[in-house]
């Protein structure tokens, strides 16, 4: 396949960054346009248009609740996945203040979890971080031991890692948390709509734009019986859990996207997963000195990450962008902090020359073909520019 890089103008850009945000699902677009007309009024009021908005909101809540395995009255909508996590972590710590001040988190959680943990630590709370193995999987035994210690108020574990795709041992950790009577916050941002939500959570968070809903909608579910107190000033909205006026049209669109996505996943999941398998197999064959990262089997269907030795991540992304690929990286030179991704650091894997390919719904096989066709030459040229042959 000696496909020479054609001028970008004649190429459509291949979007391979679904883990950052999934393009809007057609079902969401349709629902959004309809709900902008019918669901704009204040759902807390009592006149006709308000009741209509309330009805749409209730319906969306019931649909989302069913898919994530919650009761409708356990589900609140937030303004983002990050806000859901912040409220979930800080609200549960506040509600469980009498139980203790210890928070247990996994080292490769999304920054929203770790930043909330930093607030807790700054507030004189205790944070214990449980490490991961080389594949990025949390050590379930260490997690069980950490949550069994007295004074543990909350534990946090993602369903799957957002940078390397590795699935986390949620059921095992949930059992340990149940045995220790410690609530478990499960961050399902990367897997919701793609994989069934594992049971055993006390608090569940997700983000609509990761499954093809619009940006600006997060999900916070708090199990009945879990003590939770808002860290914000009191507000009547969303069962007093989330402050501010609900974005009903976006919530309706988010629910429509989740429903459509969950229905398609039986066909689309295995298709994406086979493409990921192909990338995992072909990249080390086509490019020398590459480390493919994350669990090859127990993983999300759409994410694959690899690092190329002797290559600067920023140069790689720039060249891939020129060749018509929208892709992200965990390398330090691509981060505003100039630090490598905390996920790659915790795993102890190569952090430079890192590329995360995440496949959106409906990605064409041709895009993957073309990616595999242009990558070897791009890596070779960057290495040559650094004197590596």
């Amino acid at each position: 396949m000696p496909l020479r890089a054609a001028p970008v103008s004649v190429l459509t850009v291949a979007y391979l960054d679904a883990a950052s945000t999934e393009p809007l699902h057609p079902a969401a677009r349709e629902a959004l346009m309809t709900a902008l007309d019918s669901g704009w009024a204040d759902p807390a009021r009592l006149y006709g248009t308000a009741r209509r908005a309330q009805m749409l909101l209730d319906q969306a809540r019931a649909e989302v609740a069913e898919i994530v395995g919650a009761r409708a009255d356990e589900v609140s909508f937030t303004s983002s996945g990050t806000q859901a996590v912040h409220l979930g972590v800080l609200g549960t710590l506040r509600g469980r203040r009498r139980a203790g001040r210890r928070l247990v988190v996994n080292a490769v959680e999304h920054s929203s979890v770790l930043n909330a943990a930093a607030v807790h630590e700054h507030d004189d709370g205790e944070v214990e971080t449980v490490g991961v193995d080389r594949s990025g999987r949390a050590d379930a035994a260490a997690f069980a031991e950490a949550v069994s210690r007295p004074g543990t108020a909350l534990a946090c574990l993602q369903t799957a890692n957002h940078e390397v795709g590795t699935l986390q041992p949620v059921e095992e950790v949930a059992a340990a948390c149940a045995a220790a009577d410690v609530p478990l916050l499960v961050d399902a941002a990367q897997s919701a709509g793609r994989l069934p939500i594992p049971g055993g959570w006390s608090v569940l968070t997700a983000s609509a734009h990761k499954w093809g809903g619009p940006a600006g909608v997060g999900v916070l579910a708090v199990r009945k019986g879990t003590r939770w107190r808002s860290p914000y000033p009191e507000d009547e909205r969303e069962r007093r859990r989330v402050p501010g006026f609900e974005n009903v049209p976006a919530i309706v669109a988010a629910a429509a996207a989740l429903r459509a996505r969950a229905a398609e996943e039986a066909a689309e999941g295995p298709r994406l997963s086979a493409l990921v398998d192909r990338i995992r197999r072909e990249v080390p064959r086509l490019v020398p000195d590459v480390e493919v990262i994350g669990d090859p089997v127990a993983r999300l269907p759409h994410i694959v990450t690899f690092s190329c030795l002797y290559v600067e991540g920023e140069a790689l992304l720039t060249e891939l962008d020129k060749a018509g690929f929208a892709i992200s990286s965990g390398s330090s030179c691509t981060a505003s902090t100039l630090r490598p991704s905390h996920v790659l650091e915790a795993m102890g894997v190569l952090t430079h020359g890192n590329v995360r390919v995440s496949l959106p719904r409906g990605v064409s096989e041709g895009d993957v073909d073309r990616f595999l066709a242009v990558l070897p030459d791009i890596v070779r040229r960057i290495r040559a520019s650094l004197g590596v042959h």
Partner: protein
């Protein structure tokens, strides 16, 4: 954010054990090496390219000390050792920031 302890935060002589090198000694002072590569101020992947170019300068079983202060080098040099089947012996904090990362040539 989970981060390893930043350099200079603790004792300057703090030693980190390499996970894949059980023979690592917990010595507090840096033992001698056969070759020192000064990669201070250089960003990854340059320190690793310098290491790859010069690992064969030392005899088999010899130790190269890479001095680097790019945070990526702290993770990436041990990862390079694993990928290239050389041994990461240990990492020592340098008094003025950065690390001395000791690598043993295995072949």
């Amino acid at each position: 954010m989970w981060r390893r302890r930043s350099n200079g935060g603790g004792s300057a002589a703090e030693t980190r054990e390499a996970p894949e090198a059980p023979e690592t000694r917990q010595t507090q002072t840096e033992p001698p090496s056969d070759l020192m590569i000064d990669a201070l101020g250089r960003k990854c992947p340059i320190p690793i390219i310098m290491l790859a170019e010069q690992i064969n300068v030392v005899p088999l079983g010899g130790v190269v000390a890479v001095h680097a202060d790019d945070p990526a080098a702290f993770t990436d040099i041990p990862a390079w050792c694993r990928l290239k089947s050389h041994a990461h012996v240990a990492t020592y904090d340098l008094p003025r920031g950065g690390w001395s990362i000791h690598v043993r040539r295995n072949y």
